[in-house]
Symmetry: C2
């Protein structure tokens, strides 16, 4: 695998997810914290305007604007659509990226702990996941919806030759928690160390396989005929990200007190449970499959 | 004490505090849940425009606009200043209120559990607090900053002849949690029951005293000379609302890893720890004194 020379660490892709934004400030003041001998790191503040307004975004979710077709469509001109084209110039272009690796820092209101989200399942991605999980056993490896290739991916991190997200919660929007900040900083450090060891061909022996959760689907909150929500996420499920949901388990409680149960036919694992930002689309949670990835 | 005939239950004073807003919807569909024989209840959606934009407020915090002088100042004309004057017409006027009691429903991102906030310490308030705490031992009684009188109070609940707030957390902004919703509904029900029993002179024997927390002061996050935050709330304090902080205890952790300790000279009890909405003012937490209120 080729050397990873240029890394961008991106914070503030969502303006009210504070951990990455504060880490950028810290690293700009103390750049030696990011220094590794075999690589060069720059920090990028993706959506400063949304942060200034203490919002996730101004016009549209920035982290859904990076598919090749949207980047090529100059009629898409709102703030985040414009910002995406500029970030793609800076980090990409996807056809021949300036950045060998983009690390995009996110928070969730869900109890997902320190999660490493992979966009791809190349040997590099799997070795990275195994390394992070070896040094940080509480970390969770999350495999995003597979796309044909990164060119079609809508996430900011797909601008680089490789891209990953660090997603840490629970943290309310517009709040900074010490524990969450430290988890994000720790995982970022492990990724930089991994790349440096990879570049120097000095990786330690890694586990032969790593547990991960593969995105299957998202489920919506129950709505009435007028589109009004009639239930909340069930207390049995709330805060239990990555814990099994079995067929027949209650997953919602209606406002009049009835349970609504999971109707799938196999055990699934939820994440992004009751995430604040997903209310726009009435999403209740993502469902994932627990898998074991074999390192070849 | 005179009869309490007219009660307003107010939700959505802050547009991203969802529990009260959803309870209003539920009660409008099932008004029998609020019915008590000796009183009349109406529900009021205080800031629907902020809810529509999924924000705490449009122009200014609605729950700081209700002092007599601000209500009388017609040059204060932004959305919340205008809305406050209309709500004061509807619930007040303070000189001779339409409402004998205003119950204002709030959420916090802090781990405050179900908190009953009193604006006053009349025998009615203290009996109410003792009744709620007798039936809901996990409830906390919070005595707000004393004002000269309700006329000068800036909170919406001060529009009524009497006013209380129900403040329940932790719940991220723009999220609805089943557990928090149920705690708010339970406490509201106890308050209505109390008033009904009070009106009918059928109150049960109440405890002779009740534990409460009296607001003393708020403390700010440490800032540098440019006004930038240099620390977070310490992990030892985060989520430990109403747990003692002693002189010398660490309360902040700087971004470079040093502890900043509490410099007061007596034990205090924090609340609204790291509340998202208080970042505007760089507030880190409120400090309270634990007191015991004697029912005469």
């Amino acid at each position: 695998m080729s050397k990873i020379s240029n890394i961008a660490i991106v914070g503030g892709t969502h303006g009210n997810e504070f951990s990455g934004i504060y880490l950028l400030k810290k690293w700009q003041q103390h750049p030696q914290l990011l220094a590794r001998s075999s690589l060069s790191v720059e920090t990028v503040f993706a959506n400063p305007k949304a942060y200034g307004e203490n919002k996730r975004y101004i016009d549209a979710d920035l982290n859904r604007q990076f598919s090749a077709s949207e980047l090529a469509d100059f009629s898409l001109a709102n703030y985040e659509q414009s910002r995406a084209k500029v970030l793609h110039q800076q980090l990409g272009p996807k056809t021949n990226p300036n950045m060998d690796l983009v690390i995009d820092l996110h928070n969730t209101t869900s109890n997902m702990g320190p999660t490493l989200i992979l966009l791809d399942q190349t040997p590099f991605d799997l070795q990275l996941a195994a390394y992070v999980k070896m040094l940080m056993p509480e970390a969770v490896v999350f495999l995003d919806e597979p796309e044909d290739d990164l060119a079609n991916h809508r996430f900011l991190a797909s601008c680089g030759r490789r891209g990953v997200l660090i997603e840490v919660g629970p943290q309310p929007q517009s709040v900074l928690r010490q524990d969450i900040l430290e988890q994000m900083e720790t995982m970022t450090g492990h990724i930089l160390d991994f790349v440096d060891l990879h570049n120097q061909q000095q990786l330690p022996e890694l586990p032969h396989s790593v547990e991960a959760f593969l995105y299957l689907d998202s489920i919506k909150l129950p709505l009435d005929e007028q589109g009004e929500r009639i239930a909340t996420v069930h207390s049995n499920v709330q805060d239990n990200d990555y814990q099994p949901i079995n067929p027949g388990d209650p997953i919602f409680r209606t406002f009049t007190g009835e349970d609504i149960c999971y109707e799938g036919d196999k055990t699934v694992y939820p994440a992004f449970i009751n995430e604040a930002a997903y209310y726009d689309n009435d999403l209740a949670m993502s469902l994932l499959e627990k898998v074991r990835l074999e390192l070849s």
